[in-house]
């Protein structure tokens, strides 16, 4: 009984410590953390903003969203979290005081939760992101070049000509200079 009680106590303590060890590093962020999954939905527009603001993906690029996340009207947000950290991001999302964004969000501000959710989403993508290696325009250009190259290759010997090969053949065989 004694022994088992001590063991049970030890187990409980270890579990608690392990739990704390797991969550403690995130505690500082946790205080202001939203739901990153909801943040992603807000970013991509699959969940509407409460005040009717436009989803970020409409103007901004973000790595990890495939070719859909390559809009180029606003700056690329892939590096946002790495550059400004949670506080900076939260501050930007609160005011959105850029000339092109003001017009959209002045009367449709993001709510507190939305800001937190988006910040959490940015935090997540900052960890997993990879820089985009190809752009959509580049892909299209490559496709066009390939198609043209194929057409060009297939038509390369279309007009062989009749006279020049005769002259070249004679030159090769007999060293004729006409």
């Amino acid at each position: 009984m004694e022994t088992s009680g001590w063991r049970a106590e030890f187990c409980r303590l270890t579990l608690t410590l392990a739990f704390l060890a797991l969550i403690l590093p995130g505690t500082a962020a946790m205080a202001a953390t939203g739901n990153d999954a909801r943040g992603e939905q807000l970013f991509t527009g699959s969940r509407a903003m409460t005040n009717g603001g436009s989803p970020c993906i409409a103007c901004h690029a973000l790595a990890g969203l495939g070719t859909a996340g390559r809009a180029s009207y606003g700056p690329d947000l892939s590096e946002l979290y790495a550059d400004y950290e949670a506080e900076g991001v939260a501050a930007v999302l609160e005011s959105l005081a850029f000339p092109s964004m003001e017009a959209i969000y002045a009367n449709r501000p993001l709510t507190e939760t939305e800001r937190l959710d988006l910040t959490a989403f940015f935090a997540r993508t900052a960890e997993t992101q990879t820089l985009p290696t190809t752009s959509l325009a580049g892909l299209i250009l490559l496709g066009v070049v390939i198609v043209f190259a194929l057409v060009g290759l297939s038509g390369l010997r279309r007009f062989k000509g009749a006279r020049r090969p005769l002259v070249e053949q004679a030159r090769k065989e007999r060293g004729v200079i006409q």
């Binding site: 009749a162 002259v167 004679a170 006409q178």
Partner: protein, 495 residues
């Protein structure tokens, strides 16, 4: 019977001296325009040679003319579906280099050059780019055998000969060449007409002249590849195709076509032939060797009362029938049988016939006299050109056709020799006459037609009867006022 009239011609190749006067007359009259510099509606090429454009006779390369597929005649370049499939990238066209890059010289440099130690020169410049260029080809580059080991050696007609025949052709002491003037053949079964996606090419009903309607032409250039003789040309400036019009405006005014009129050697004969249009398809489907004979068969006797009656019924005017009776072409092709179509195996039934060149025979010295009738036809030794070469040109490979013509031409020569010099034994003359199958009167007529006739006998232009042709389509008064100068409608597509 559906009897039609066709203005046809005969070129007597033994008389052609290759002076190119015909080409220049035609050039000055019709193709001396921007974008047309490279075209020669009339050109004279040297045979053996690859011609203009290079290797035009090689239909394995150019896919021109018709081919027999089972029991069907088909354009070698493909049917309607094939034409549409290739409409933006016709692969069978000659390149400008195969014609030749047209050039001129900077003549003004001769007078404008500043004073210097050296004589000023006129450099050749391209008529396409205006840049100085090196002249590497011309419309008859192999004229008189220049460049022959390139051009003559690659003549498709020479390549098909046996090694022995080729040696015979190019043996140094026997080496021979002749000139082949070519214009549009105004074919009965024209491949250009069949190939045109726009329906712009037509064969004029009253005289069989093949024309391209410049208002309808869209410049697809299917006719350029379809014509096995390469006698339609694309005008780079107008964006339309053009071809020999047999100088129909001159003919309508009673004048001979310019190339006929200017011919120094008087080798050209022109006249009307009557033919049965119902037989065109069946004739064009004969085997290669039979084609020349079958085409001769289609041509009808304008003296035959039945033919005359049928022609009148078909709407031919009496003047046209009369012109057909006076036609020298009828005599050459049908009565005397000494003119053959060029490359009948292309199956377009060309209506320009050639008297094959006999050329000066190599004489075997025999005490100063030549015995040519005895052994000429048993050995090929004395023929300057291999019969197979001529058969490939004029008879779809059938040597018998060439031999028949040669027998008659030889008989004429022997008869003239007997008449003018009188040193041949009567037996030889008799032998030649029998071999030829022609009587004395016919041999004499050939001699006269070949050497003594005036222009009105050589060139019998039928009354073109434009007024009747116009009346069939529209009111002549309206025509007279409505038809102005140049294009009748603004082209839909401008270049």
């Amino acid at each position: 019977m559906d009897i039609r009239a066709q203005v046809s011609s005969v070129f007597h190749l033994d008389k052609c001296i290759g002076c190119h006067t015909c080409s220049i007359a035609c050039k000055n009259l019709w193709t001396d325009r921007r974008g047309n510099e490279y075209m020669w509606w009339n050109n004279v090429e040297t045979k053996p040679g690859t011609g203009y454009p290079t290797k035009w006779e090689d239909q394995e390369k150019y896919n021109g003319g018709w081919e027999l597929v089972g029991t069907q005649l088909r354009l070698k370049q493909g049917g309607k579906a094939g034409t549409i499939g290739k409409i933006f990238h016709n692969p069978d066209l000659p390149t400008i280099d195969d014609y030749y890059e047209p050039f001129t010289y900077k003549y003004e440099d001769l007078t404008n050059a500043p004073a210097a130690k050296d004589q000023p020169t006129a450099r050749p410049v391209s008529m396409i780019s205006g840049e100085p260029m090196k002249i590497e080809a011309g419309p008859n580059w192999d004229d008189d055998l220049s460049g022959s080991n390139v051009y003559a050696a690659n003549d498709p007609g020479v390549i098909q000969l046996t090694e022995e025949e080729q040696q015979q052709l190019f043996a140094i002491e026997k080496m021979v060449m002749f000139h082949l003037p070519r214009i549009c053949n105004h074919c009965m079964n024209a491949a250009c007409v069949a190939s045109c996606p726009s329906g712009a090419i037509y064969k004029r009903g009253e005289d069989g002249i093949v024309l391209i309607n410049q208002d309808k032409c869209r410049g697809w250039r299917m006719c350029v590849s379809a014509c096995p003789y390469k006698k339609t040309y694309y005008g780079w400036s107008s964006g339309k195709s053009e071809k020999c019009i047999l100088c129909f405006p001159r003919q309508e005014a009673g004048e001979a076509p310019a190339c006929f009129h200017s011919c120094v050697g008087r080798i050209r004969y022109l006249g009307v032939l009557l033919y049965d249009a119902d037989k065109i398809e069946a004739t064009a489907m004969k085997s290669d060797g039979e084609l020349a004979a079958a085409q001769r068969e289609m041509i009808l006797d304008p003296f035959d009362p039945q033919v005359i009656a049928a022609a009148r019924e078909g709407g031919l005017a009496d003047q046209v029938i009369e012109a057909a009776q006076n036609s020298p072409v009828y005599k050459f092709v049908k009565q005397w049988g000494i003119a053959l179509p060029l490359h009948p195996e292309f199956r377009t039934l060309p209506m320009l016939f050639y008297v094959p060149p006999l050329l000066p025979l190599l004489s075997v010295e025999n005490n100063g006299t030549q015995k040519i009738s005895d052994d000429f036809f048993t050995t090929l030794e004395q023929a300057r050109l291999p019969l197979m070469y001529l058969a490939g040109l004029f008879a779809g490979g059938n040597q018998e056709e060439i031999k028949a013509v040669y027998r008659r031409l030889i008989a004429v020569r022997i008869q003239r020799r007997a008449a003018s010099v009188g040193d041949l034994p009567e037996a030889e003359l008799q032998n030649a006459r029998e071999l030829s199958g022609l009587d004395d009167a016919a041999l004499d007529a050939i001699y006269r037609m070949t050497s003594l006739t005036r222009i009105k006998e050589r060139i019998v232009i039928p009354p073109m009867l434009r007024e009747q042709a116009i009346e069939a389509g529209m009111d002549p008064e309206e025509y007279k006022q409505g038809m102005g100068f140049g294009s009748r409608q603004a082209p839909k597509r401008r270049w």
